[in-house]
Assembly symmetry: C2
Homo-oligomer: 342 residues x 2
């Protein structure tokens, strides 16, 4: 048997010809099967199978003026935090019978812009995005031109769109309050560039907790890294391990779990015992945090809920005339594990 690959996909017109009916009847079989006689319908369905007919979504959405899809532009597909958020969105999309397209900007503004341009041209029903820069006017332009857009994991006050986030200042406070409770009096904040909003907020929360406890400002050290990655955590670990123990912070609060994992590894390699000589708190509570050989204390964010809430908002904006923009802020929670509980 030879399997032929069909060269050009058949259209409703071809199906109609093959079945010996009119074009309108084929359309009825597809969209209002009840209005067509059983015998006719069968003939048409047979022809469709025979010809390998596949509906053309471009034509459909051109006609309909809207597509049946949603998109999420991720900041970093390699970070489990964002894939969990995506999963929450996926569930919502599935419920609404929409396709979800995931795009990865990989923290690059140019790639993000390209994705956004394509998505806008595709006329997706809505765009969810964790942006490289939440204040970029490009986002406003998209909303102004009519595509519902929701910012995920960042708050944009007074903007032309909804946003869903977690209270990062509070998260930072929880982390450092926990360390202070455990008796730490020299703490390092290990984070990516403060230009990243999430990082800046978590640092602010940390300093708030610190000053509220009346501790000397200088004893909360800032160890700035270039990015929120495992590699960045490792190099921070080297720097910390290099400090004489009398002056070395006894605990580190990391801006996310990737950094914390890198720090944990490097610190252990350098001979520091965790948490006896260095306690570590991460952020996000990704699955790998609990799976680390010294399970990581971390600040948990409701990741899937974040995604679902964002999707619900964008769907509401897409379909509800009376939609009102809103800023949703979830509350984080500290999960204490061995890396601080020695």
């Amino acid at each position: 048997m030879v399997i032929e690959r069909q060269q050009l996909s058949a259209s409703v017109k071809d199906v109609a010809a093959a079945a010996g009916v009119s074009l309108g009847t084929v359309s009825n079989v597809l969209n209002r099967p009840d209005r067509v006689a059983a015998a006719t319908r069968e003939k048409v369905e047979h022809a469709m199978a025979e010809l390998g007919f596949v509906r053309n979504e471009s034509a459909r959405s051109l006609r309909a003026g809207r597509t049946r899809s949603l998109a999420y532009v991720m900041l970093d597909a390699g970070n489990p935090f964002f894939t969990d958020v995506a999963q929450g969105i996926e569930h919502a999309a599935e419920g609404a019978e929409l396709s979800l397209f995931l795009c990865n900007s990989d923290s690059r503004a140019t790639r993000e812009a390209t994705h956004l341009e394509h998505l806008e041209q595709q006329r997706v029903q809505g765009i969810l995005i964790t942006p490289v820069d939440p204040d970029s006017p490009a986002l406003d332009a998209i909303a102004r031109r009519g595509t519902p857009l929701v910012i995920v994991d960042r708050i944009r006050k007074g903007g032309a769109f909804c946003s869903v986030a977690v209270d990062d200042v509070l998260g930072g406070r929880l982390a450092v309050e926990h360390l202070i409770d455990r008796g730490h009096r020299r703490v390092a904040f290990v984070g990516g560039p403060l230009s990243i909003g999430q990082v800046a907020d978590r640092y602010e929360g940390a300093r708030l907790a610190w000053s509220t406890a009346g501790l000397p400002e200088d004893d909360l050290t800032l160890v700035a890294g270039e990015s929120l990655t495992v590699a960045s955590g490792r190099s921070a670990g080297e720097r910390l391990a290099g400090i004489p123990s009398a002056r070395r912070p006894t605990a580190a609060f990391c801006a996310n779990d990737l950094i914390a994992l890198g720090l944990l590894q490097q610190a252990t390699t350098a001979g520091l015992r965790v948490p006896e000589q260095l306690a570590i708190v991460g952020y996000d509570d990704i699955e790998f945090a609990a799976a680390a050989a010294v399970p990581l204390t971390s600040v948990r964010q409701p990741r899937q809920e974040l995604g679902r809430a964002a999707a619900d908002l964008v769907l509401d904006e897409a379909s509800n005339e009376a939609h009102h923009h809103q800023q949703v802020v979830f509350t984080p929670e500290l999960v204490a594990r061995a890396s601080t509980l020695g």
Copy 2:
């Protein structure tokens, strides 16, 4: 200033009217800017900005008969292995000026089917997929109907499509040969269901190495789990830790790194020292493998290259008349770390 949200997106026709030129001229500005006088072009571009004109991709691809996008249907977006593969694909897509849509089947055949149906209707230029079941006839049907399709991380011999994979049998052999070299004579294979091809192949490689070394068959134990997850690794750890030390395997070869990380954590919790009492080899060499507090020996696969090769094949099939289906098999490599090197 009040920012109006435009209700309906403007078409080329609207732009033409606003600019006081004909529709064809607007089209020329878009597609052959050189054929239009500078002054006219400027007028048109001004009108476009004014009206917030966005090209309608549905109309474009309906006219063109093809879209400008590619899709990758992932088996598990939460597994870093697949996000790395996706990144390789993304680079290739970027180079070809195509959008890449990521879809996640989450190991569910129904969700996968839905995604495939949508993608086929979208007329994407090609579909890359790590399928739930590589032998599903649904895949053949898609290829037969004309959408180029490439299987990623599985080989399908004699099929109507290309496939790109890594030699999992060899990978399994490398892992177990390494353990034998290190003196282990009782080894456990910890894996998801053998119905997953990757798992079955790695197990086969393990047994091959074992019998080649002339070791008694019974001393290579199979510890079957339900899935390739951290949680599954943990429960395997409980089972191993429960075995009296005289009979307990001295090493475990895990079907992937997620399992290995779970196993590592649980074994440590149960008081087993790694690698002295239990050596561990993972598979995939995801970033977190090296970052584990006992860095994991693992079998590395060229993840990004896998994605890039698959994308190149699908693009070739989409554009090259003389395309010939091929099966590409990459070679894995063992990365030895502390979890076996005690």
